[in-house]
Amino acid sequence: MTDLVLARRAALRDREAFTVLVDRHGPALYRYILRMVRDPEVAADCVQDTLVAAWTGFAGFRGESSPRTWLFGIATRQAYRHRSGAAHRPGALPDELVEASARQPDQDAADAALVEALDIALLGLPPLQRSCWLLREVEGLHYAEIAHILGTTHGTVRGLLHRSRATLADAMEGWR
């Protein structure tokens, strides 16, 4: 069943459809939010607020964007709202990282180390660049969708991505 069908059902108070949608995109939303707010406790609150806003707001969803983009828009607004509070806390790096999968242990360990290195590198990016980079490179959103979410232009998104890629490449230099 497509996301759009699930979103329409959720708008009509179909709890099961909403749950399927959450299970489909929840891990990515959490992944994105955690790296925006940096603190697992704040991320938990932020994800919860995102889902509440989605459930209560689905009636107003008109399908101008994909449900996934719409959810990331809500997540971004929540992350920025929560981030101001989190900025006063120590910049704790999330240490509960990789969930085991069916792949080889060596591969998992290498991936875990790589993700950890990337998380450290991401801390060096200003929030807007980080948000832009995560939405494009990890979550696969289009430039126009990111511009819409961040309230900026296509050209600005391009510039933010260029700078963030350069910064991350420098920070990950030791992995070459």
């Binding site: 069943m1 009509l12 959450v22 992944r31 955690l34 459930w55 209560t56």
Partner: protein
């Protein structure tokens, strides 16, 4: 390995990665969301008791949810949007229903079936204040068709 290759590999690892935090937070976050209050207009219903008529209110969201269930059970029909309107006395005046229909289905009979099912459900919910099927404006707009004949939602 080049810079691009390192970043590409790291991106791939991050995409495959599920944070433990999501596993921990999922249930509570979902529960909280589904129990959140969705603002909803009241719709007046009426039932007759031995002591006389008694009015009650049904949330418009509940009406919408019930209509969705009813329409989803109509073969070859899937509800897209349902809008209820009330007057100054919270009485239901109109229901606009948009549906998707299975491809090649005769649309007018399908709309009539959907309208009849919706009216019956409204009667069950609103009792004596439910408008008659021929009095209430149930606009059925067929806004899409699909080649899937068993479940147009799929």
């Amino acid at each position: 390995m080049t810079d691009d290759a390192v970043l590409g590999r790291a991106i791939g690892a991050l995409r495959r990665h599920t944070d433990q935090g999501w596993i921990l937070v999922r249930e509570n976050a979902l529960l909280k969301a589904l129990s959140a209050f969705r603002p909803s207009a009241p719709v007046r219903g009426r039932t007759t008791t031995p002591a006389g008529p008694v009015d009650y209110y049904v949330a418009a969201d509940v009406l919408v949810s019930a209509l969705r269930e009813t329409l989803a059970a109509v073969p070859h029909v899937g509800p897209l949007a349902i809008t209820c309107s009330t007057d100054d006395h919270d009485r239901l005046t109109s229901v606009v229903i948009e549906i998707v229909a299975a491809f090649d289905e005769p649309l007018l009979p399908l709309a009539a079936t959907a309208r009849k099912a919706a009216a019956a459900r409204l009667t069950a919910l609103l009792g004596d204040l439910a408008p008659h099927a021929d009095a209430i404006a149930i606009d059925v707009a067929i806004t899409d068709v699909t080649e899937e004949t068993s479940d147009p939602w799929s």
